[in-house]
Homo-oligomer: 455 residues x 2
């Protein structure tokens, strides 16, 4: 059987359809691959050019003497079939087809023909009508979006299987800005012969993937999906956002990826059955991915809030109760310990209000005490950087305690430029951070739920 590994670990890549025009899709992909520090070898196919960006241009795949692992196809739809014949001749079994103009515009005939041919030749295809793949580790990158407009993320544990190129790539971009780490991103478009289930199956076995995100409009094969998702969700969390959950939205999916969106309740039933975490919005998915990638397993649902702003403690408490989590009750020992060292104005309770003049050391003492308190399962730290006594080494303090991996630690910081810089630093150091307490708590709920339902 032909696996999917070459989509991410190909050493020799050929791009078919590289124009000399710098704005054309094939050219942008080629340029991005060069710029991405991709370690493998790149071949360019364009019969009308001798060289492109100082690379030799081959008239066709069959002229390349080396064995190609992956072919990226960016030619007009009517020429794709011809390229597939060349792939067969050169023993290529993996293609990424960026080209659109198939079932999504009603051209089922051409897509069916293409599928039959690829299946006959045992060629696996990511696409058609997708952005293709991005791997943060190998730097394999077929996204035809300029790097100054779409940042590429650092290495990490989130993989994203995405039926919409726009949804996936913008989230990749936003996540990069906020310090997320990614493993693999796949925009699989029409899923001509590799579908979401195949990709989830692959990612389930990928050691670098800690959490799988899925944006799906229509699942191709429900039975296959259930079987695979059930198996994979036992190993790692799958977060799914379903596009076209309403009748009106469902109509729109048909012209987007040629998907029959299907009834919402059927999908919700499938997600539940497979222990898939359902995201109700793009933001939810984004938030859940952040916490599920970084957090260790919580031992229960008792949350302790530590804050330097009273209102935030109250809003967090409301959110904890509304999300059916529990407010931890501090151990007597913890209370005694902290009463001895804290000034009277500190409220040693839950929420624990370190008040506005809290400095980094007060946070350190509070967090250290709570980490050792068996009544506490999860630590929600509100860290408002606006007050002058919080020094920036609070980042190191929290990172060091978080690195001990004793309990999930989640940090909320709300603010402008100064806050954002520190928040991103903490996120890059492996601590999930949020702007708003309610989002943080909602995400903690998913974290607790996932591990509870797994056990």
């Amino acid at each position: 059987m032909v696996g999917l590994d070459n989509f991410f670990n190909a050493k020799k890549i050929a791009i078919v359809g590289v124009s000399k025009e710098p704005n054309k899709v094939g050219h942008v992909i080629f340029r991005n691959l060069i710029d991405s520090n991709f370690k493998g070898k790149i071949f360019v196919v364009n019969k009308n050019a001798d060289t492109i960006l100082n690379y030799k241009s081959y008239p066709s795949l069959t002229h390349i003497k080396e064995k190609i692992d992956l072919v990226i196809i960016a030619v007009p739809a009517e020429f794709v079939i011809g390229i597939i014949h060349d792939c067969y001749k050169t023993k290529v079994h993996h293609v990424v087809i960026i080209t659109s103009g198939f079932s999504e515009i009603g051209n089922y005939k051409l897509e069916n023909k293409l599928r039959d041919l690829m299946n006959k030749y045992r060629i696996k295809c990511v696409g058609v009508n997708g952005l293709g793949v991005f791997d943060a580790y190998t730097k394999l990158d077929t996204l035809f979006l300029p790097r100054y407009r779409l940042q590429r993320p650092k290495e990490g544990g989130i993989s994203f299987v995405c039926q919409s190129g726009a949804v996936g790539s913008t989230i990749l971009d936003l996540g990069t800005e906020q310090g997320y780490g990614f493993s693999k991103f796949i925009s699989y478009g029409n899923a001509t012969n590799v579908d979401e289930s195949d990709l989830i199956d692959y990612l389930g076995n990928d050691e670098k993937t800690k959490v799988i995100c899925l944006y799906v409009e229509g699942i191709k094969n429900g039975r296959k999906f259930i079987e695979i998702a059930k198996k994979v969700s036992k190993k790692k969390p799958i977060i799914a956002l379903k596009g076209g959950i309403t009748e009106e939205g469902s109509k729109a999916t048909l012209s987007h990826t040629g998907s029959l969106a299907g009834a919402a309740n059927v999908y919700m039933g499938i997600f539940k059955q497979c222990n898939i975490i359902k995201a109700d919005s793009l933001q939810d998915m984004f938030n859940y991915a952040r916490i599920l990638e970084k957090s260790i397993r919580p031992m229960g649902s008792k949350v302790q809030v530590i804050t330097n702003g009273g209102g935030f403690g109250i809003l967090s408490t409301d959110a904890i109760i509304n999300n059916e989590l529990k407010m931890a009750e501090l151990n007597k020992d913890t209370k005694n310990r902290l009463t001895k060292i804290f000034p009277k104005i500190v409220i040693i309770s839950n929420p624990m209000d370190l008040v506005g003049d809290a400095d980094t050391n007060r946070y350190k003492l509070a967090i250290e005490a709570c980490i050792e308190d068996n009544n506490i399962d999860v630590l929600l730290i509100i860290l408002l950087y606006q007050t002058p006594l919080i020094t920036t080494d609070v980042i190191d303090v929290i990172t060091e305690i978080n690195d001990l991996k004793k309990k999930p630690i989640i940090v909320v910081s709300t603010g402008g430029e100064f806050t954002e810089v520190l928040k991103k630093n903490l996120e890059m150091n492996g601590v999930p951070t949020f702007t708003f307490p309610e989002d943080a708590v909602k995400s903690i709920k998913q974290l607790v739920n996932y591990y509870e339902s797994k056990s």
Copy 2:
């Protein structure tokens, strides 16, 4: 009757309790006032110093020969009463008391004594135990938070009445970063003799305030609040977030601002009765403020989506239906007009998918056509900047159409650094912008609801 105008428009301000220590509250306030370009005159009271930052220091208020409009008090709690006597002697009727250590730590006796004295002297007080006030127009600024940690916003239409200093100041900071414009911010702490109702009443008559945000833990006088809020919400939207909505959260409010939070359903009933827009989270409040400040009145609830990413069109559609708004149906004329000028690949429907190769001109044509279509009440534009053909002058195109004030225009852009720069520019130009489609739609719902229930 003593009005509240001096809290925002005072020309001569005295700060009592300015230490020479640069980290102390009084000193930070003084320094911030100097740095803020406050146009009025500042007096400093500290009997242990001759000069502070080259300003003459007075031994007491009574030594200042000029008439003071507003006194900012930042001395320990036990000295506050003495200062109030001095205020009386010098005919001061407005004080901002930053000092804490009153009812919020159980010291009801001192706060009651203070209140009685101020009422006797006809002195109005913002505080105690609050951050005080900030006015973006007059630059009057009592926030004791360093400007590099807490950015001060540009002039605009949002005013924020906030019982929690932390909640208010962080939102001010975050809003500044995202291009929000503010009018007034008041952190009124324990509401010793000026409460949320007084402030809402004042802001209702303030021409510069377009929308009022309220974070409240406990309303002091329900009947007064209802009377005032009912009146003001007819003039401009009031958005309220209630802290301590759960029993557990309510307990926490007692030690925060000494508030009895009261039953959630009572509050929700009051909000509904007064046509107050209820925010369920800090993020909701933040989002609703953005749209309600900037948007004109929509004529109905029919939303047209324009996008360059199909998945976003679908998620927006789902959100529109889930929020009980309506999907607009394009007029025949609009369809014909656009069919003539757009390439076949564009989906002229709702959502209107301009597809990935859309350039600025395609957006211009689409928006212009939709602005003139009577079947459309609100325009939701998904503008993903990752694709290479969108030039940055799309900002000018949208701003110019938005400035005609024909229909509310809301823009969603998801992404990293490049996106954020352009998004902020659009926001600064008066167009409400969102990162996620679901947040945008939820906020459009509030906009439509407010004007519907007002009429």
